[in-house]
Symmetry: C2
DNA sequence: GGCCATTTAGTTGTGCACAACTTAATTGTG
DNA sequence: CACAATTAAGTTGTGCACAACTAAATGGCC
């Protein structure tokens, strides 16, 4: 097959180039995402949190109590993901959920004492993650920017795609 | 930006810097990964494949029939993920699984006629994905390299972590 | 040759992501 | 006011990732 190493005798078609490059980028992003997840899994084990649960706690620590809707916007997650996740956080005693009095459709997510206190123990997490990446702050920052641009482009592409069909 | 806006009255501690930066990188990678997944979901819908199933088919198209073990090494997936996935691909008539005669522990995964034929219809996928990223080939290539380095560092960190405890 | 460690798939259970749907509350419009 | 459209959570079902385990085959070693 005309892959792996292109012998000089055979010119690689553009289609082949696309296929190879694409495979690499999708493999790479997938692998990086899962590797990141693995590091978080190890580091967060002591806290009894999963990676997505940690993201939710980060938002609550940073921005304070808020309705499920806002959490979902911040994390780009819908209620189908957040509802059971929050139920587990509540079972762990880290958050409390209560219907809003003003708008009974909305559910307010509040940190419990334990949930707020966990922030102290989570303080070392970022440093350990950053150390695991082996990157300095500038590298991390640059990568973050690139990923955000990529996400923006991909979201726009999805919007265009779904709009036209 | 110096991270959102720290009111001038409060000096940000180093711990805060780490926390904010980390939050950004973990948010960004998570979001990018899910956005990528979303684009693949749309593009692969016509083929009746999920993104992980597509990755498996890519490997089979590229490297030919092979045992589950090899597929797992290539994709960094274990049998707990691959077994049910391959069962679904078999149910869809794209692959066939058979115990190896030489080594009865091993299961050989083979493309069916339909599975091999699907490659033609998948030919346009990479171009559509690349278009959605809005990146040129050099950008994609650079990002891929960076992600691969990151994955390597993270894997090494996990290995070190699990070895010392 | 017999036995034990290793290897390969598969199974089970937990948790996340997402689509499609339901329920209930609110909002907008005639 | 009445009623349709919208909004917020939740539920259900499918599929993936991974840990922990089981089952069966293989290989090494005495």
């Amino acid at each position: 097959m005309a892959h792996k190493s292109y012998p000089g005798t055979m010119t690689s078609t553009p289609a082949d180039d696309w296929l190879r490059l694409d495979r690499q980028i999708c493999f790479s992003l997938n692998a990086a995402s899962r590797a990141f997840n693995g590091v978080y899994r190890v580091v967060l084990k002591d806290l009894g949190l999963t990676y997505p649960q940690y993201l939710v706690m980060l938002v609550l620590w940073e921005d304070g109590d808020q309705p499920v809707k806002k959490l979902g916007e911040r994390l780009r997650l819908d209620s189908g993901t957040l509802s059971p996740l929050l139920k587990r956080l509540e079972a762990a005693g880290l958050v409390h959920r209560e219907r809003s009095a003003r708008d009974e459709r909305s559910v307010e997510v509040r940190l419990t004492g334990d949930g707020a206190a966990l922030r102290e123990r989570a303080a070392e997490v970022p440093r350990r993650i950053a150390a695991a990446t082996g990157c300095d702050l500038d590298e991390i920052s640059a990568l973050r920017d690139r990923l955000d641009r990529l996400t923006g482009a991909l979201d726009a592409a999805i919007a265009a795609e779904t709009a036209t069909r």
